[in-house]
């Protein structure tokens, strides 16, 4: 009998399967979900808020736990350091059965996120997602700010990144027209 699961759980398996990296980790998973919801307006229903390590919602980790319990993914700790390897455990047929309806509507969005942000260093994902978070805060408040101001605001949250690095990321995201609060 067909089972009913929230599309967010097989989505994790899809992201793990299609990432250009060797595997997906928890930080990358969190940021992909943030980009999907914020940049592509995919209605995942997460409620992200900002931490020193970027936008985060513990519900993503709950979904990861459920995906593991339902045999959709496997997760193993990295042999060295603090981190995990998340790998897809679904066959193509099962993926289609569990996520088919969601992917029919949002596959292009998911693939876009993987294309734009997959394969980058995790620290880049953390920085890009923080820049977008600050940009959306300003946009929601109806304010505009310059690239210098945005760089400065992000550096206040992440003082360990050099200003030049943050500025480079702000410019790259702006060039891709992913920032909405930047003064034209």
């Amino acid at each position: 009998m067909t089972i009913q699961v929230d599309a967010r759980t097989p989505l994790i398996a899809y992201l793990a399967e299609h990432t250009p990296a060797k595997w997906i980790g928890r930080t990358a998973l969190m940021k992909y979900c943030y980009f999907l919801q914020t940049l592509r307006m995919v209605p995942l229903g997460y409620n992200f808020s900002l931490y020193s390590y970027g936008p985060f919602d513990s519900a993503v980790l709950s979904d990861l736990g459920e995906a593991e319990a339902l045999g959709m993914i496997t997760e193993t700790p990295l042999p060295t350091g603090y981190g995990y390897k998340i790998k897809n455990a679904l066959s193509d047929e099962d993926m289609q059965e569990l996520a088919g309806r969601f992917l029919k509507e949002h596959k292009a969005d998911v693939d876009w996120v993987i294309e734009e942000f997959g394969g980058g260093a995790t620290s880049d994902l953390e920085l890009d997602s923080t820049i977008i978070y600050v940009d959306r805060e300003e946009r929601e408040a109806g304010r505009k700010l310059s690239m210098e101001d945005l760089t400065h605001r992000v550096r206040e949250v992440k003082p360990r990144f050099p200003e030049s690095t943050i500025r480079k990321h702000v410019e790259a995201l702006s060039d891709k027209e992913l920032l909405l609060a930047i003064e034209s």
């Binding site: 009998m1 067909t2 089972i3 009913q4 699961v5 929230d6 980790g25 928890r26 930080t27 990358a28 919801q37 209605p43 995942l44 229903g45 997460y46 409620n47 808020s49 900002l50 931490y51 020193s52 390590y53 970027g54 513990s58 519900a59 980790l61 709950s62 979904d63 990861l64 736990g65 459920e66 593991e68 319990a69 339902l70 045999g71 997760e75 700790p77 990295l78 060295t80 350091g81 603090y82 981190g83 995990y84 260093a121 995790t122 620290s123 994902l125 953390e126 920085l127 923080t130 978070y133 600050v134 805060e137 605001r153 992000v154 206040e156 949250v157 992440k158 003082p159 360990r160």
Partner: protein, 426 residues
């Protein structure tokens, strides 16, 4: 005569004496905070565990106390990380200690009646799939109801806080700047909230499941900077290797409290009834938004008001069931770790039960759900690893994704018969 430096002590069944300063006392005395005396921590849990009558008021004091102990331990254990990674000096640390105390004290001030049981009736944010969370109400109350007492107290001359500083830390805004690091103490996997509620809920419910070695965890908590390709490198909270079993106890306490108290089948049934009764009672079926214009209306909602309306018959059928303890009956549950085959069987059972199914509740949707969070451990020679690498128990602990099915008491016998028929066939 003003005595801004006077200290006060409040007795607490969990922590002994909780010390507060004159500024914190003034905040506690505000009506928006006193409202927490009228919001029970665990909703209708007293119908299963009669002692669980405690409120968000005493919990909030406990969280402030626990957050202070954690803060002091992190500064003691990780001063170098705080100085090098977050540029803290002594003044900055003194300032942020008070900021963390205020945020911890006020983190739950935005809770609706009966705490999490009502959270599903918070409205959607405009044009978004996500709903408001109580943290956003807490931040709004800090901004619009507590700004005068936060900004105007004489002790604030030493800090220069704006209410916005507290609100930014509570809701996770970039305006909290590098102070966002401390957000994990208020809302994270090693937060003071969790540490206090596990011990307090356990104490009042009269169970031992939520107990863990609080002081061992506190003594070993530290700030670390994870490195490696899976991490962005931002500093975060962890424990020293000596705290592995303390932290393991914390995770297990949460697991046991979930299965034995928070996701107890009858407690969950009462949450269902409360949710439906509130839907009947609230204008439009949802709470007011956390905006300047609607906040007073929101703050007028507390347990007393809801109980009064239910007593007057305003809660409909579900209000009546609450009043008479005529709750839905659990007729089937999947295993605590439900697999796909179990979900398939669940669908068969639901089909067989048909209209006799009154409610379906999943552990993954519970506000107390466990997750895949893991605590970084700072081991020998600076080696970092997840807590589950040190604990074979945690390495094998899977998330509880149990599903519970309910029928009305008058239908429970017939529904259970249909469940048995499906189970006998399989």
């Amino acid at each position: 005569m003003k005595r801004p430096h006077r200290k006060y002590e409040i007795r607490c069944p969990i922590h002994g004496f909780i010390e507060i300063n004159d500024w914190e006392r003034a905040i506690i005395d505000e009506p928006a905070f006193q409202r927490l005396r009228r919001i029970r921590q665990l909703a209708w849990t007293d119908h299963i565990y009669p002692g669980a009558m405690h409120t968000r008021f005493e919990h909030s004091l406990g969280v402030m106390h626990t957050a202070s102990m954690l803060y002091d331990a992190i500064v003691k254990n990780s001063l170098e990380v705080l100085r090098s990674e977050l540029s803290y000096n002594e003044d900055g640390l003194r300032r942020d200690r008070q900021l963390v105390r205020l945020a911890a004290l006020l983190h739950d001030v935005g809770h609706g009646p009966f705490s999490h049981a009502a959270e599903e009736l918070l409205p959607h944010r405009d044009e978004r799939a996500e709903k408001y969370k109580h943290e956003q109400y807490s931040a709004a109350i800090v901004r619009w109801k507590l700004a005068a007492v936060i900004e105007g107290h004489d002790l604030n001359a030493n800090y220069g806080f704006l209410a916005e500083d507290v609100a930014a830390l509570l809701e996770g805004s970039s305006k909290a700047k590098q102070g966002l690091f401390w957000r994990d103490l208020v809302d994270g996997q090693m937060d003071a909230d969790r540490m206090d509620y596990l011990l307090r809920d356990s104490y009042h419910a009269g169970v031992q499941y939520g107990r863990f070695d609080l002081h061992r965890v506190i003594n070993t908590v530290c700030a670390i900077r994870p490195a490696g390709e899976e991490n962005g490198g931002a500093p975060r909270l962890g424990v020293l290797e000596g705290g592995v079993h303390g932290a393991e106890g914390l995770v297990l306490a949460r697991y046991f409290m979930f299965t034995q108290v928070y996701f107890h089948k009858t407690r969950v049934a009462f949450d269902v009834h409360l949710r439906h009764a509130l839907k009947e009672i609230l204008p439009g079926g949802v709470f007011p938004k956390p905006t300047a214009t609607e906040l007073d209306c929101y703050l007028a909602w507390d347990d007393w008001r809801v109980l009064g309306l239910i007593a007057q018959g305003e809660g409909g059928e579900h209000g009546r069931r609450l009043g008479r303890r005529d709750h839905f009956r659990n007729i089937y549950h999947t295993p605590e770790v439900t697999e796909r085959a179990d979900l398939s069987k669940l669908e068969e059972i639901k089909k067989a039960i048909g209209p006799l199914l009154a409610a379906e509740e999943s552990a993954t949707k519970s506000w107390y759900k466990t997750d895949k969070a893991d605590i970084p451990v700072f081991g020998q020679a600076g080696k970092l690893a997840p807590l589950s690498s040190f604990s074979s128990v945690l390495a094998n602990l899977k998330m509880n994704n149990q599903v519970l099915l309910y029928a009305k008491p008058e239908d429970a016998g017939a529904a259970r018969k249909k469940v048995d028929e499906v189970l006998k066939k399989s």
